[in-house]
């Protein structure tokens, strides 16, 4: 689907409806985790820990914050949510299906032969997937471009980019941070899934990001830190965006790798592991409890 084409932009731009908040957030988050675990077990894919890490952020984002008319997913003024850490896409697919962007049965196609649902997302493979990602370090520039264009044309669109902490090793991320700060892109929000883990070890050992908040701040960003698993706190924080009217905002979301299942929590090796039947049963048992 080529929704980037200019000819498809309607001449009249209507106001965006607010999206309805979700009910029973903890239950939604648990359901999403159950689905992720089952699907990745069946598909024999990794990145489960990375997906679990962002589930609560997604739940909070789709809890009435992001504006998207479901009946018109290509609405030109919709908010753009960009999953820059594309390896966690299973969490996004499941969250979008739960939110009604597409039917849940489609999730069974994940990474199957001939499927559109790859292990890293491709633009508009399903409604709600705004960019192709997978190579780290791309999403923030794309989001900055969207925010810049929206502001120039006085459109209500906001761009929200979810980054991984390890991804912030990439120089291109810092080019984008520099650019967005300089241009005071208040309609751009970056959320960093700060689970302190990357592929081969803890971030502090591989390439330490600290003092992380200070770095963003010195590049002209407004910084908030939040518990990335606390739906209420994140929902409340999102309502206050932008934190400052002439600055982009970064939300450093403190998270736990593999959050929700005891044997994954805080273990960076779950970036790669594929769940076994034992993992599946134990995990579902914990999530059902």
């Amino acid at each position: 689907m080529k929704i980037s084409q200019r000819s498809q932009l309607p001449l009249k731009r209507g106001s965006l409806p607010q999206s309805a908040p979700l009910k029973n957030l903890p239950e939604v988050a648990t359901q999403i985790r159950r689905d992720i675990l089952e699907i990745s077990y069946r598909a024999r894919t990794g990145h489960v820990g990375s997906a679990f890490s962002i589930v609560d952020i997604l739940v909070a984002l789709y809890n009435g914050f992001l504006r998207f008319p479901l009946e018109r997913p290509d609405h030109p003024d919709r908010d753009r949510f960009l999953l820059s850490k594309g390896h966690a896409v299973l969490a996004l697919y499941v969250a979008l299906a739960h939110r009604g962007f597409f039917r849940k049965e489609k999730l069974n196609e994940f990474v199957q032969d001939g499927s559109e649902l790859a292990g890293h997302p491709e633009i508009q493979c399903v409604p709600g997937v705004e960019i192709s990602s997978g190579s780290l370090g791309h999403g923030l520039s794309l989001g900055a471009g969207m925010a810049f264009a929206a502001r120039l044309d006085k459109r209500p669109t906001r761009a929200v980019v979810l980054l991984s902490d390890g991804e912030c090793n990439e120089g291109s991320i810092w080019e984008a941070i520099h650019f967005a700060g300089h241009h005071k892109l208040a309609n751009l929000t970056a959320i960093v899934d700060y689970n302190k883990s990357q592929a081969l070890g803890p971030t502090k050992d591989v390439l330490d990001l600290e003092p992380f908040a200070d770095k963003w701040q010195s590049f002209g960003w407004a910084v908030a830190q939040v518990d990335g698993h606390d739906h209420q706190k994140m929902t409340a924080l999102f309502k206050t965006l932008p934190l400052e009217k002439d600055k982009p905002t970064v939300i450093i979301a403190h998270t736990v790798m593999g959050k929700g299942v005891s044997f994954m929590e805080g273990d960076w090796t779950w970036h790669y592991h594929t769940p076994t039947e034992q993992h599946l049963n134990k995990g579902l048992e914990e999530l059902n409890a």
């Binding site: 932009l9 791309h138 520039s141 794309l142 471009g145 291109s172 520099h178």
Partner: protein
């Protein structure tokens, strides 16, 4: 060439407020007029080419028509993955414009010699590659580029390229033209170095050899109708590009003829060899060094028809 380019873009920007001109801090004494006339459509992103391409793709996904501009080395090589993923994979309507293609910045040394750009841009799905042959055609190519909905790489020379067309020619993406007829040997050329092919044709004419000069200002997609016609009619073919022979324009044509089953008596790619240019000089000097000037081309052509090559 860069002036014809910017003048054409300026003309279009007046009609289309979605055109955005992005530069990575390059274009001294060229972009000033555009920047002054269209401040909302001009953006110097700073010396950060990768971010420039990502930002442009984001803009395109919002319906804008961004042009990214810097020296062709930085434009295509520093940003290769951004061009691949952010532009081509998204089918984003972004125009990648590289200036100084070949030896436009000859004296500045190998970091400023874009010789591999056509080869690497060619491998990208969705990418259209334009390499106009003179300033008049550049203006037409720039307009065609803006009209095309999708990724385009436009390879420009720098400035002072001689005119081959006396006025702006009609330009259609994917279409080449025979500039000079001749039945003994043909040269298929792209970019402003085509002027050297015309010079070679004059030299060869003195020696009784008629060189057919074909210009393909679109490197991708190739004008296969014209290639078939030339290949079936003329027994010897040379290709000419101001860039490496490794995987570039000549390689594309060689592959095409081989797979098409067109049998030639002789085929040879003129371009730069598989090594960096460490002893620099003017563009004319370097062209001469690699046999890419009129005299060098005439020599190769003459050797070919007399079976000495």
């Amino acid at each position: 060439m860069r002036n014809s380019f910017i003048n054409a873009v300026e003309g279009q920007a007046e009609r289309d407020s979605d055109i955005m001109f992005l530069t990575a801090d390059l274009g001294f004494q060229m972009i000033e007029s555009f920047a002054k006339r269209f401040p909302r459509q001009f953006l110097n992103v700073g010396i950060a080419e990768a971010n420039m391409v990502g930002v442009a793709a984001g803009m395109a996904l919002m319906g804008k028509l961004p042009i990214c501009y810097t020296i062709a080395t930085f434009m295509t090589m520093r940003t290769y993955e951004q061009v691949r993923n952010d532009v081509c994979l998204h089918e984003a309507n972004v125009k990648i414009v590289g200036v100084g293609g070949g030896f436009g910045y000859s004296m500045y040394g190998p970091t400023h010699h874009p010789l591999e750009d056509m080869a690497i841009m060619r491998t990208l799905p969705e990418m259209v590659i334009l390499s106009p042959i003179d300033p008049n055609q550049t203006a037409a190519a720039a307009r065609a580029m803006l009209k095309h909905n999708g990724p385009v790489y436009l390879r420009l020379g720098k400035k002072g390229e001689p005119a081959i067309y006396t006025k702006e020619p009609r330009f259609q993406i994917g279409q080449g033209a025979v500039l000079k007829e001749g039945g003994d040997i043909a040269i298929i050329s792209t970019g402003p170095i085509t002027y050297e092919a015309l010079k070679a044709a004059e030299i060869l004419h003195q020696d009784g050899i008629e060189l057919c000069v074909v210009a393909l200002p679109t490197v991708k997609p190739l004008d296969v109708v014209l290639l078939d016609e030339i290949g079936r009619k003329i027994p010897y073919i040379l290709t000419l590009e101001e860039g490496t022979i490794m995987g570039g324009f000549g390689s594309a044509i060689a592959s095409y003829y081989l797979e098409r089953g067109i049998h030639l008596k002789g085929f040879y790619r003129l371009g730069t060899p598989d090594r960096f240019v460490k002893r620099i000089g003017s563009a004319d000097y370097l062209r001469g060094q690699f046999g890419l000037d009129g005299a060098g081309i005439a020599r190769t052509a003459s050797d070919m028809v007399s079976n000495r090559r």
